[in-house]
Symmetry: C2
Amino acid sequence: MDRRQQKTQQAIFKAFDRLLEKKRFEDISIKDIAEEANIGRSTFYAHFETKADLMDAVCSEIFTHVLSITIPTEQSHDFSTSETSLKNRLIHILHHLKDNGSTTKGVFASGDGQLFLHYFGEYLKEMFNPYVSTIYIQVPDDYVLNHMVTGFAATVNWWLQGGFSPTPEMVADYFMQVNGFVTITKISQ
Amino acid sequence: MDRRQQKTQQAIFKAFDRLLEKKRFEDISIKDIAEEANIGRSTFYAHFETKADLMDAVCSEIFTHVLSITIPTEQSHDFSTSETSLKNRLIHILHHLKDNGSTTKGVFASGDGQLFLHYFGEYLKEMFNPYVSTIYIQVPDDYVLNHMVTGFAATVNWWLQGGFSPTPEMVADYFMQVNGFVTITKISQ
DNA sequence: ACATAATTGCACGTTGTGTTCAATAACTTA
DNA sequence: TAAGTTATTGAACACAACGTGCAATTATGT
């Protein structure tokens, strides 16, 4: 690939990241990005069709990273460790999201994790699917699955809004407890 | 209030509702609304400053309705009935949202319940707050609260995307179970 | 060095926003 | 019903952003 293309691509991504720290996605214009990246506006269009296209690329980049980190972990099918395996995968994801803090914030800022959900949805569904039917028998599987996927997104959102203060391990623990992956929950009173 | 103002207000609201059935909020222009409402574009600006302003009004209208329906129910402080009281309030809300189906869809379509959350957030928080600390002791209260509020929004979203097919009673039941308001949940395996 | 390909800036048409204003129509109330 | 008030209308204006096209320039790979 042409060196020039790489440069401008990176410049665009970095500029976008920088802008996402200041503004919401909706309030960033292509002119803004071009100026921040120090490139011509028409150059932007040579790389991306729309602003959403750029966001797509950013999201799928994060997605690819998270995927590469967490998928290899899945090797044990031992039931006794299945929960800890899930928890570990969640911890990995949370670590990665914390490391990419500003980008994560940017992705979430544009519609409360809508895009995050769009890109991670399928992956998260696959991840949570094996556990669904074992937890709440009187509730439709697809409801439980949706509950977990959106719940995880809400968890990440809560976490980053609090400045990523609890550790990934703690956050994963909260999520596990709240979703019934524990021996003792509570009762009515 | 001048009869003319009432007319145009209603015309705008109805037009907005009609448009929300066809398009997403983001894709509706003020010109669209004016045309659909059969009023001059400048007349729109005499009533609302921006498109978001209109959405605000719509949301707070729904909010007011839900509030008036569910608040009076709260009179019992008996612990044994507190869960059913919560459940009943949820059922009331769900009924109301189903009755205003198209508007509900419109509100949710613009950012996966972002606006819904913004307007109902405080109310829902108040509603769920008394139950929070009694359920998951090892998890921060604000996390649990956030989990319930966003979880309820996700529930409504799941429900409307499935065409409101289960009854409000069933949906409320799913929500209650999944959030730990039950005697027997499940265990690891 | 030369052919190739990316970048640039400028121009153009389009769409939407928000404001202003004078003319017209509808309303209230006295 | 007549008079004064107030809402509506449509047209005009300035502005910002989008997306496209193109010729000139510049950097790249070989």
